[in-house]
């Protein structure tokens, strides 16, 4: 396994000529790796699978817009405005996991390592366990984000004025974490100690789950659309500013009272972040189409893709950290192998 080591490279080195351009034929809203196959999920109808040889195949997954997508490395699960939750594997085989009875939009999907899947339509969150039991929970307002806790079968449901922690297999009353405002994307820290939401306002909000203490992470010029935990959960990298903002989560207080690291400033907004799965490096995509690899330790940068296009809308590493794939809002896509 060859691993990328930015070691001695000077700052602003370029790997642009090593990027494989991919005519994927869809505008990617996300990219996930299933093994070494990159799955570019389009904004509507199709996904494009690209294997390591660079062969592209297109698979129809929804009859309309694709609103949300997630992956556990074994399958990609998407929700669409056709009311369907669809799973796709690396062979390009699809299966419909659920169809909303009222054909409502599926706004969020989440996967648990044990095979459980969660999704939401309007105010209702659904969980289907690995044993195919289905449970539902009605949030007080439209579900903005869904996430499984790393441990146990617990689901965080983000909505207006807070997050509900729901234990689908327990009769216990769901726990409610209150914070005024509209909460969208939600994520647990990998050590299960913190919960962070991206809000409608350009800010993050977080809770330390041991005592529900609040963490306010603000100062962004734009809404945070992309969040990624660095290896070991040491930091949370985020989009939304003209630098990558990385909040420290190494101490028991998380980022409380601490300044975030601000890396790789450009004259453009960071649109996507993706931390390397094993090393302290990350990739960042910008609103002008730039893709950079950044060393977290000192902020050293390597150029992967030059500016001059629409925003980067999809960015991901494979699990081994040997492949990086990206897609842009104007339909360009590429892959870099280390």
């Amino acid at each position: 396994m060859t691993q990328f080591d930015p070691g001695e490279r000077p700052s602003i080195a370029s790997l642009t000529d090593q990027v494989r351009r991919l005519a994927i034929g869809v505008t990617a809203t996300a990219v996930h790796f299933l093994g070494d196959t990159a799955v570019f999920v389009g904004t509507e109808e199709n996904a494009a699978l690209v294997n390591q040889a660079g062969e592209i195949s297109t698979v129809a997954i929804h009859g309309g817009g694709i609103l949300c997508t997630t992956s556990d490395g074994k399958r990609v699960v998407t929700g669409g405005d056709d009311g369907k939750v669809v799973a796709l594997n690396a062979k390009g085989e699809t299966s419909v996991l659920a169809t909303d009875a009222k054909r409502r939009w599926i706004d969020n999907v989440a996967l648990h390592p044990d095979g459980a899947v969660a999704w939401s339509a309007a105010k209702t969150a659904f969980v289907r366990s690995g044993k195919s039991e289905e449970k539902t929970f009605d949030a007080p307002s439209t579900v903005g984000g869904l996430a499984f806790a790393p441990k146990g079968l617990r689901v965080a449901i983000a909505h207006y004025n807070g997050v509900t922690l729901w234990f689908p297999n327990m009769a216990a009353k769901p726990e409610f974490l209150e914070w005024a405002g509209s909460h969208l994307a939600v994520t647990f820290s990998p050590d299960n100690k913190f919960l962070v939401t991206a809000m409608h306002e350009p800010a993050l909000h977080g809770w330390r789950l041991a005592d529900n203490r609040h963490m306010r992470m603000s100062g962004y010029p734009g809404r945070v659309r992309s969040m990624s935990w660095s290896t070991g959960g040491k930091g949370l990298a985020t989009s939304g500013a003209d630098t990558v903002i990385i909040w420290p989560f190494t101490s028991k207080d998380g980022p409380m009272g601490k300044e975030p690291a601000m890396l790789a400033p450009l004259q453009a907004r960071v649109s996507m972040v993706a931390c390397h799965p094993k090393q302290d490096i990350m990739a960042a995509g910008y609103s002008d189409g730039t893709v950079l690899i950044i060393r977290l330790e000192d902020g050293a940068e390597i150029l992967v893709r030059r500016n001059g296009s629409e925003a980067v809308s999809a960015l991901a590493w494979n699990a081994k950290g040997t492949l990086l794939a990206f897609g842009t809002e104007d339909g360009d896509a590429g892959m870099l192998e280390f």
């Binding site: 809203t29 904004t43 509507e44 309309g64 817009g65 694709i66 609103l67 405005d81 409502r104 939009w105 706004d107 309007a122 105010k123 307002s141 439209t142 903005g144 207006y160 005024a180 405002g181 509209s182 809000m199 409608h200 306002e201 800010a203 734009g222 809404r223």
Partner: protein, 350 residues
């Protein structure tokens, strides 16, 4: 700016009190042979059954922005739906948002001002309010939502005119004009109105403000210079006045205020004054609009506002021979008329 805004998908907000005829108008829009495709966001699935159009249900979810200001509210569900619809850009030409009869149009309009992502892709075209000629007068007395809907309108479709007598029609029109003299008003039966009169109006487009509302600068002469005679009576019954045959009602709390000057304004005085005015009185001011002639500035400056939110830009050069006249209008509740007039006049360069 016009080039950019024309690439954005136009959004028409369709409002009107329960039973006024919104669904009739929507059906008319969708079923007419106009060769366009609309995405329609509805609050309640009614009798609309149109093929080939995207019809999406929405919740009535309104939330406050976290600055705690009650006039900065946004429709969260609308943001979500707009985000989803933008994935299918190219599949439709325009969006129609049908609000429930009880909805306040402000959070809908503000969503297009406040939300960065929505603003990037879509532009508010106009607020179209359907009013019931027979029952509107009653609703204006007992339903604040109906009043807001009239106050907010860029276009008013005064429907069911066949169900009222001529004097009744004149009276309901006068009541509407008392609240909102600037909206285009169309009298209809069963919402029979030319589509060009309700769609693609560009009423929120700073570049087009005057082109589609040429009466904006003139309307005042018909019934505006009387305003100061009637506001702030401090008693809460409706009363009418005749001005050259126009029966002019003043609603007890909703009013419009128009200011004008043929002498230039000092931008260094006017802009801070306007910003301060909407910051402090934004809850009372529903809509504001203005075309301004500034000192030492060859461009017309236009602005447009919803509650506290303002948007303004240089529009174009004043044409030769065109009177360099400034006009500002406010529609709102319990507007502090004297303070506004004094503040405006202090910005005039004499």
């Amino acid at each position: 700016m016009s080039e950019l805004s024309s690439q954005k998908i136009p959004v028409t907000v369709l409002t009107g009190y329960l039973g006024a005829g919104k669904t009739t108008l929507l059906n008319r829009i969708l079923s007419e042979n106009h060769g366009k495709k609309y995405a329609v966001i509805v609050n309640e699935f009614g009798e609309i059954g149109i093929d080939n159009d995207l019809i999406i249900g929405a919740d009535e979810e309104v939330f406050e922005m976290n600055n705690g200001c009650v006039c900065c509210t946004v429709r969260g569900d609308l943001v979500r739906i707009m985000d989803g619809l933008m994935k299918r850009k190219g599949k439709f030409d325009a969006i129609i948002v049908e609000t429930t009869g009880l909805a306040d149009p402000a959070p809908v309009a503000q969503t297009f001002f406040v939300d960065e992502d929505v603003q990037k892709n879509a532009r508010l075209d106009a607020v179209v309010t359907v009013a019931d000629a027979k029952w509107l007068s009653d609703r204006l007395k007992d339903a604040p939502e109906a009043k807001n809907q009239i106050a907010f309108a860029d276009v008013i479709v005064l429907n069911k005119t066949d169900l009222v007598s001529k004097p009744e029609l004149a009276e309901v029109e006068a009541r509407i004009r008392g609240i909102n003299p600037y909206a285009k008003l169309h009298r209809t039966e069963r919402c029979k109105v030319a589509l060009a009169d309700v769609l693609e109006r560009g009423a929120f487009d700073l570049d087009r403000i005057l082109e589609i509302e040429p009466e904006f600068l003139d309307a005042g002469d018909d019934h505006h210079h009387h305003d100061h005679d009637h506001h702030h009576h401090g008693h809460d019954h409706d009363h009418g006045h005749s001005h050259g045959g126009l029966k002019h009602y003043h609603d007890e709390d909703m009013q419009s205020l128009s200011l004008r000057s043929d002498k230039p304004l000092d931008p260094n005085l006017f802009m801070p004054w306007l910003q301060n005015l909407v910051a402090t009185e934004g809850q009372k001011i529903l809509r504001s609009k203005g075309i301004l002639a500034f000192t030492d500035d060859d461009d017309r400056y236009v602005f447009q506002g919803v509650h506290m939110m303002l948007e303004g830009d240089h529009q174009r050069k004043w044409k030769e021979g065109e009177p360099r006249e400034s006009r500002v209008v406010f529609i709102g509740r319990e507007l502090p008329e004297k303070a506004i007039r004094d503040g405006f006049e202090a910005c005039i360069v004499t």
